[in-house]
Amino acid sequence: MREHYIAGMSQMTLSRKLAILSDAAKYDASCASSGTERRDARKGGLGSTEGAGICHAYTPDGRCVSLLKILMTNFCIFDCAYCVNRVSSNVERARFTVDEVVTLTLEFYRRNYIEGLFLSSGIIRSPDATMADMVRIARTLRVDHGFKGYIHLKTIPDASPELLDEAGLYADRLSINIELPQDTSIRELAPEKRPETIRQAMGRVHLTREASRDRSHTGKRPASFAPAGQSTQMIVGADRANDAAILSTASRLYTGYGLKRVYYSAFSPIPDASAALPLVKPPLMREHRLYQADWLMRFYGFSVDEIAGVTPGGDLDLAIDPKLAWALANRADFPLDVNRAPREALLRVPGFGTKTVARILSARRHGALRYDDLARMGASMKKARAFVRLPGWTPGALTDSADLRARFAPPPEQLQLI
């Protein structure tokens, strides 16, 4: 049986393998290539990273294509119910050789299709054997080919700490998926995964990164470990966790392990789906609201309780964004005097982003701001007007009007199964 597979595989074209192994990788949301150290090829090799990431293309699902995002193989001995590659699925299988991944990465890179490689994998033989092959690919790119582009390695749960340590030497970013917001759901839907070892791996990456930042007593800096940090992904809608639970888990991950990003992935129908999960339309709006809430926690000074506390049941309002929902529930704090309010208060005005607030703080040193100045500086006044006060503008009764929410919310729509 095994020989049959191998014989069949060797006849598979590179194009067919690429089709199978990119199709299998598309459920990973991350494609970020930003926030790593600056490197370029002026002293040899190929490639560069200059801070900001670059999205080289967009697919009709609205997602950016920045990296060659593929699985090394979609053979897998795990049986995660939400995953198309689980051992009990009948999906067509393929496996890249090390050279195939290296060549695809370099040739795509030379044509400016991509910023680098995002390599993930099903688990073949054992977690350690799989992780060792992935590390070999990263090492070949970095050491043999002098590749200076971006590498993101999705680490394999339960792989040995030594392999994790080596992966961080070559990869810009390491990630390990938490998959589901609650331990009980992980144990139920992904019986081979262990939430505690996932957290342990995150803890180890965090500590190793912190240590690689410290200057040693000789004054030399040690090699920087995973300079673009670590990230994770949570599937939304595959279990019954509400948004408050999802955001609480995200908040613990950010504070505990210094994660750069938590990605939320609306559970989407997969080929050869498990009978254990509903084939509903992916909850894209819920996913979008979670990202907005995530931003509010990280850049706007909101806590989980403030965001999730304004709606009964702990789920975010799908009709309006979470900042607006918070402001409508806290109207006593408004209208705010834009020319006097501190930064923290300005950040809570619907329609003001972090850049707008920075511009307001800078501009009001030169004189009092008026309504038209705000619009010119990037504020969304359609939202903000009910919540701010400026010379020549006061929202009057608008702030407290009963139909204020209705002015923003779209008419209700029946959600449907597909």
Binding site: A41, R42, V87, M202, R252, T255, A266, A273, L284
Partner: protein, 470 residues
């Protein structure tokens, strides 16, 4: 009226030179006419150069704005330069209409540059030299090739390449970058990698989540004609609904025959809590799976004790802190540092002591970018005493030292404050317990004198404990 003529190539440098001379000669913006190529008026000779200083922010702004196609850009920039001599902080006022206008022009150039770095597509040219050769055709909105060519030179340093645009061209040969005039669209030879790239593009797309507006806002249609992958988009969209319908209507299939055996084998080999606890090692393995209270859901891991299994002295702290939780070892964070110093001062070797905590999981609340320690409550401490008792049973220390109130409660059952009890040995049903300060308490004391005193007392108590077990 001063007429300035800027050349078709090199106008950026020419504008900078002219603007500097005009500003030094105090020529007012309303008295200058800027023209490119063949203008209506004959140019006037420029005044002599003089010293002009501008903020760094203006240099960056001008570099970007000069690449814009807007014919007014030269006059707008010169007006800003003129005003800067009286208003040094001008650029920091985004509410100023001129600043807003220039920022908008610069933003448009930056966006166009970003899209150029993203959407240039090289094709390989035939050749047998030591360096591989590539070429690309690109149509930017603005005159941005010179601004962006160094980026491609830093990135694609080991190959020769040419980027052609309608207005300008850049060539990179053997590490040297040169610029020249634009050209009409060339016929570049086909490149076999484009088919693989199209395969990737069509398969990384998820047909169940179409978001066309998001795609078009980030990859506007005007760029599509030079993107090989964009040719696939109509077919991808046409097929998406059918693919989702197939997924939806497919019945769950029977798992492959080998699947059950593979799962069974892997699950059998997964670490499990031992059925019986007959040794310290069993207890350690069992504790890793502890769910006796809810703290395990949020902490990283169980932090078990550490030290020799026959230690004469056991030191019990409150609970693992942030660092201990990540590392999986007791007393390795800041509080551990205080304890280490005190032990060293007391002449005690850390590796001769069993170090552990009353509660084995970290209790915290997320705040901002950090996890703030929370004191475990009675129920959590009671639940965890099971493990502490096992540690004592298997190690049989001659003396146990409780650091802090939680450990004191866990070991003596007495919740009374430490103030009067510190430094004493209390007899309990399970053996003698000495009480002292927790090192975290010492770290939190705001008063330096009080902290030094508490530190000295901890050292004293450790020394006394060492004497008692000697």
């Amino acid at each position: 009226m001063q007429v300035v003529a800027l050349p078709a190539t090199g106008w950026r440098e020419a504008w900078r030179d002219a603007a500097r001379r005009l500003a030094a000669a105090r020529v007012r913006p309303q008295d200058v006419t800027w023209q490119t190529g063949e203008g209506l008026f004959a140019p006037d000779p420029l005044p002599p150069a003089g010293p002009v200083t501008v903020p760094r922010a203006f240099v960056d702004l001008a570099d970007a704005v000069l690449c814009h196609r807007d014919p007014e850009r030269f006059a707008l920039l010169y007006t800003a330069l003129w005003r800067l001599s009286g208003e040094r902080g001008l650029l920091a006022n985004p509410a100023d209409p001129l600043v807003a206008r220039l920022e908008a022009l610069a933003k448009s150039v930056r966006r166009d540059s970003h899209k150029m770095r993203a959407f240039v597509r090289f094709r390989e040219l035939p050749g047998d030299g030591p360096r591989r050769r590539f070429a690309a055709w690109f149509e930017p909105d603005h005159l941005i090739l010179a601004r962006n060519a160094p980026f491609f030179a830093r990135r694609f340093a080991d190959m020769d390449w040419t980027i052609l645009t309608p207005d300008e061209r850049a060539d990179f040969r053997d590490g040297v970058l040169t610029h020249g005039p634009g050209a009409p669209r060339p016929d570049l030879p086909p490149d076999a990698s484009e088919a693989l790239w199209a395969t990737y593009f069509t398969n990384i797309f998820n047909p169940a989540r179409i978001k066309l507006a998001a795609m078009r806002s980030e990859m506007p249609r005007k760029y599509w004609k030079n993107l090989p992958e964009a040719r696939e988009i109509p077919a991808m969209l046409a097929d998406a609904e059918r693919r989702v319908a197939v997924m939806r209507s497919a019945q769950a299939t029977a798992a492959p025959a080998r699947a059950a055996a593979i799962s069974e084998r892997y699950r059998a080999a997964m670490p499990k809590a031992p059925d019986r606890i007959d040794s310290l090692d069993d207890a350690c393995r069992a504790a890793a799976h502890c769910t006796r209270c809810d703290l395990y859901c949020h902490a990283t891991q169980t932090v078990w004790g550490e030290g020799p299994a026959d230690a004469a002295l056991m030191i019990v702290g409150e609970q693992p802190g942030d660092h201990e939780d990540l590392a999986g070892r007791p007393f390795v964070g800041p509080a551990g540092g205080v304890l280490d110093e005190a032990m060293a001062a007391a002449g005690m070797a850390r590796d001769r002591v069993w170090l552990t905590n009353a509660v084995k999981h970290f209790k915290f609340t997320p705040r901002g970018k950090r996890r703030l320690h929370q004191t475990p409550d009675r129920a959590e401490t009671d639940a965890c005493r099971w493990w502490l008792d096992l540690e004592r049973r298997f190690i049989q220390p001659r003396l146990v030292m409780a650091l802090g109130g939680t450990a004191a409660y866990a070991l003596t059952g007495d919740k009374t404050g430490l103030g009067r009890r510190r430094g004493r040995v209390e007899e309990t049903a399970t053996g003698p317990v000495m009480l002292s300060w927790h090192p975290s308490y010492i770290l939190r004391l705001p008063d330096k004198g009080a902290a030094a005193e508490a530190r000295a007392q901890l050292t004293e108590d450790l020394a006394q404990a060492a004497r008692l077990v000697a």
